[in-house]
């Protein structure tokens, strides 16, 4: 208890108000929810020394100007509204009134400007700096504060994905922090954000806690909407417990060690589903699972062979096996949950073995072995490889499975040194970002699978275009072009499966698949 109090003082939150707050809640111990994490957080600094768990954690403490909604579209968060100039070069954010930092001080435009200069300062080593200093799509020329609650960003080139990039969790959601979070010499101390929770106790390797921020000023909306909307916290404390081994995590859930497991495997889901007192929360997510081709490989350079492979896979049966029926087939790079997933994106490869055989004969393929790299670390990738090998055998394609250790497979992916590979991309929250992860110049970035120049042009346009219908048209063209080029075969988007103990309401899995503990309450009855 001692350590906890010292930390609270440190934040300058008067101890008196803390005790006062505790009293107002119903009597008895402060309510606590325990969440299972598969690893400890790396640091409390948004977007710098981070990993998946650190991002999910920090998004409870800091909030950005804009943030992803439930359907991964971008909506205002600290900003009341955002106006973009016609030439797409100036972005004007008007801040909401009455928003307070966790140290009690009010949020001002100066704080926003200070935070962004802190992020853009190379010394901070912000992960998303390359996206805003010109190395990416565009460069932020300057940030100005014309009025107390108005911040204006000027950029050198139009950038359709600027807001989406700002909201990326791996950039810490470009969360606005109070200058006191940083010491005089610039070293990071602790996050003082505007989020619904403040940083609690952190026992390295064991657990890290969040405390409710009493004076949080939620947005006007009634319910939470992705990383925005009404983010009022209903629980006093949240503890993220570190359990590296999946089997131990499942056991901890069953034995009451934890209340929420944000991400379990399909097999565990099948088992936990029928355990009384367990609620399963699933949601399709934006991971891209599929088979990559190396278009520069002598054999696979021929589009007819790639097309034949695409036509000889029974996608529905494969996806049913891989995801225990939880996911649907998706041959498009655009995730099914993305706002830009429309009828054209829905069109995929027909299951047509005769056409596949014809194409193979036409291409002069007579059973030369094709090496397909898989790994045993991620069961879905391995099973995808085994199922594809079996299905392709039916049309006479001789697939040789090469099982590598995950690190070795990543190296082969990074250097483009493979014929085929079963792979799954981590989620990108904007369709353009998804396309960007597979498209690029193979000489500079050997890991990219698609280097069709026309596709590159379309992608550049989609990245700079900020008007939704225009971007949609560009994405449709990109999709149809990809179906023709077949640089890779997209098979399905993953599913995030969260399991929650009975008595916890309001927890939902969502396409961004980061756990959110605001808007979640503990039923009075169960502890």
């Amino acid at each position: 208890m001692h350590h906890y109090v010292k930390k609270a003082l440190y934040f300058g939150v008067p101890t008196l108000s803390l005790c006062l707050a505790a009293l107002t809640l119903q009597a008895g111990e402060p309510s606590l929810i325990k969440v299972g994490f598969n690893g400890d957080i790396r640091s409390t600094e948004p977007g710098v020394n981070r990993d998946e768990n650190s991002d999910a954690f920090i998004m409870h403490i800091v909030e950005g100007l804009v943030a992803y909604r439930e359907d991964a579209s971008v909506g205002p968060m600290l900003a009341k509204d955002v106006t973009i100039s016609d030439d797409g070069l100036t972005y004007t954010f008007t801040l909401r009134e009455g928003v307070k930092f966790q140290n009690g001080k009010p949020l001002t435009a100066e704080d926003v400007k200070w935070t962004w200069q802190h992020y853009l300062d190379p010394k901070t080593q912000w992960r998303c700096l390359p996206e805003f200093d010109g190395r990416g799509v565009s460069k932020i020329l300057d940030i100005s504060v014309p009025e107390p609650l108005k911040v204006v960003f000027r950029i050198d080139k139009p950038n359709g994905v600027l807001l989406a990039t700002m909201s990326r969790p791996d950039c810490g959601g470009s969360g606005i922090v109070h200058p006191d979070s940083v010491a005089a010499d610039g070293t990071w101390i602790a996050p003082i954000g505007t989020g619904p929770f403040t940083l609690g106790q952190w026992k390295q390797g064991q657990y890290v806690e969040l405390n409710r921020f009493k004076d949080y000023t939620p947005r006007a909306e009634a319910k939470p909407d992705g990383f925005t909307g009404n983010k009022q916290a209903f629980v006093d404390r949240v503890r993220f417990v570190v359990i590296p081994d999946a089997a131990s995590a499942k056991a901890a859930l069953l034995s009451g060690g934890v209340d929420v497991l944000p991400d379990v495997t399909a097999m565990d889901e099948a088992e936990l589903k029928n355990v009384p007192g367990m609620q399963v929360r699933t949601s399709p997510v934006m991971t891209l699972g599929g088979l990559l081709f190396q278009t520069r490989d002598p054999l696979l350079g021929d589009v007819r062979i790639r097309r034949a492979v695409a036509l000889s896979l029974d996608y529905s049966q494969m996806v049913a096996t891989l995801s225990n029926g939880l996911s649907t087939v998706n041959n498009s790079i655009i995730p099914t949950t993305s706002a830009y997933y429309d009828a054209t994106a829905h069109t995929g490869y027909p299951y047509d073995l005769d056409e596949a055989r014809r194409l193979l004969k036409a291409a002069g393929y007579h059973g030369q072995p094709i090496k397909l790299i898989v790994n045993k670390r991620y069961p879905q990738m391995f099973d995808m490889g085994v199922l594809s090998q079996a299905m392709l055998q039916a049309v006479g394609v001789n697939i040789v499975l090469e099982t590598l250790e995950w690190g070795a497979q990543l190296e082969r992916y990074q250097s483009g040194n493979f014929q085929m590979m079963a792979f799954s991309y981590s989620p990108r929250f904007d369709a353009a970002l998804s396309y960007e992860s597979v498209t690029g110049n193979k000489d500079k970035e050997p890991r990219k699978v698609w280097d069709n120049p026309k596709a590159l042009v379309l992608l550049r346009e989609a990245q700079s275009e900020s008007v939704a219908p225009k971007r949609q048209a560009l994405f449709d063209q990109l999709h149809t072009l990809m179906l023709a080029d077949v640089p890779m075969v997209m098979i399905y988007n993953g599913t995030s499966i969260g399991v929650v103990k009975a008595g916890i309401e309001g927890y939902r899995s969502w396409p961004i698949s980061k756990p959110r503990l605001w808007g979640v309450s503990l039923a009075a009855t169960s502890k």
């Binding site: 690893g39 400890d40 790396r42 640091s43 020394n49 990993d51 080593q125 992960r127 390359p130 190395r135 791996d170 390295q204 390797g205 570190v242 590296p244 081994d245 089997a247 131990s248 499942k250 056991a251 901890a252 034995s255 670390r377 250790e405 995950w406 690190g407 070795a408 990543l410 190296e411 082969r412 992916y413 990074q414 792979f423 991309y425 981590s426 992860s437 970035e445 890991r447």
Partner: protein, 313 residues
């Protein structure tokens, strides 16, 4: 005696250094490095470079090795790349799990195997002897992880007496912790019992052939006294060396058993750190395992004269 210990430790230093160099080079030779593994498919050139410099991987391998050796000598094994935990406490905690199981199991196996071996040798070529040898050979032939799986299936799943998965540390709940340790210890005891019993029997047969046993009998001692006072001490020396060998290897982590029983042992830690390319943890693991190997061999040699005074230190 003390000079002998110094001499042996002195001899061990080059081996330790050699192994640390082999490990340092081999792990970096394996494709994929921690930065790539952490960034996964979002690893573009800049972020890779940035991550590598923050992890100190951009120095030449030699400089990295020197930095590491310097920090090891000052007692700091560095921090894990993937979990940010300090390596030393992590290692000790994980080692305590493996060590408890291995020490208890090997002790149990030896306590049962030596009398059984003695008895089988005394009743050599009798039905009892053949039965015991067949049993020991059978146990010796069963792979430990399969036996573990069977026991897990029988006692964990079917009968439900013992927990199937997970681990509770002693600190949290001693009673519950024991239930997690029962099956691994039983598995390891049965597997090692076979090897030790066969060795005890063979060395006892060798000893019973010698004249001083006949001399003891000629003194009118009862068979029991002859076996326990004369045969056991001399027969135990070779068995003790085998026990030392087994301890040396098992303390290095019973990764496979730890996988079957999901125990957070040092074996599992090493395997996971190899897959995550977590260099500091891996190097720490190997240093610990090699030190144990050397120390166990030293202890075996130090205690050897107890059983065979002819060996002078």
């Amino acid at each position: 005696m003390f000079r002998f210990i110094l001499h042996r430790l002195g001899m061990a230093v080059p081996t330790l250094l050699l192994i640390s160099v082999m490990v340092f080079a081999l792990i970096r030779f394996i494709p994929g490095d921690p930065a790539l593994l952490m960034l996964g498919d979002m690893a573009d050139a800049q972020s890779l470079a940035q991550m590598r410099s923050s992890l100190g991987l951009d120095h030449s391998v030699v400089t990295q090795y020197l930095i590491w050796i310097k920090s090891v000598l000052s007692g700091d094994l560095g921090f894990s790349i993937s979990t940010r935990q300090a390596v030393l406490p992590l290692l000790l905690e994980r080692f305590s799990v493996s060590a408890t199981i291995v020490l208890v199991a090997v002790a149990l196996a030896t306590l049962i195997a030596v009398p059984v071996g003695l008895f089988a040798a005394w009743k050599q070529n009798s039905a009892m002897d053949l039965g015991l040898v067949a049993g020991a050979t059978l146990l010796l032939s069963i792979p430990s992880f399969w036996l573990g799986l069977l026991l897990l299936y029988a006692f964990g799943i079917k009968l439900g007496w013992l927990p199937v998965v997970g681990y509770v540390t002693f600190a949290d709940d001693p009673l519950k912790a024991i239930t997690y340790l029962v099956l691994p210890i039983v598995t390891l005891t049965l597997v090692e019992f076979g090897a030790i019993a066969r060795m005890a029997r063979a060395s006892t047969i060798e000893v019973l052939r010698l004249d001083y046993i006949a001399h003891a009998r000629a003194k009118g001692l009862s068979e029991g006294a002859v076996l326990w006072r004369h045969a056991l001490r001399n027969a135990f020396a070779p068995t003790w060396t085998l026990v030392g060998l087994i301890l040396g290897n098992l303390l290095g982590g019973i990764a496979v058993l730890e996988t079957v029983f999901t125990l957070p042992g040092v074996g599992r830690l090493m395997v996971d750190s190899i897959f995550a390319r977590d260099y500091p943890v891996l190097q720490g693991c190997l240093l610990l395992i090699t030190c144990i190997y050397v120390l166990v061999n030293l202890c075996v040699d130090l205690l050897y004269p107890l059983f065979d005074p002819r060996v002078k230190l």
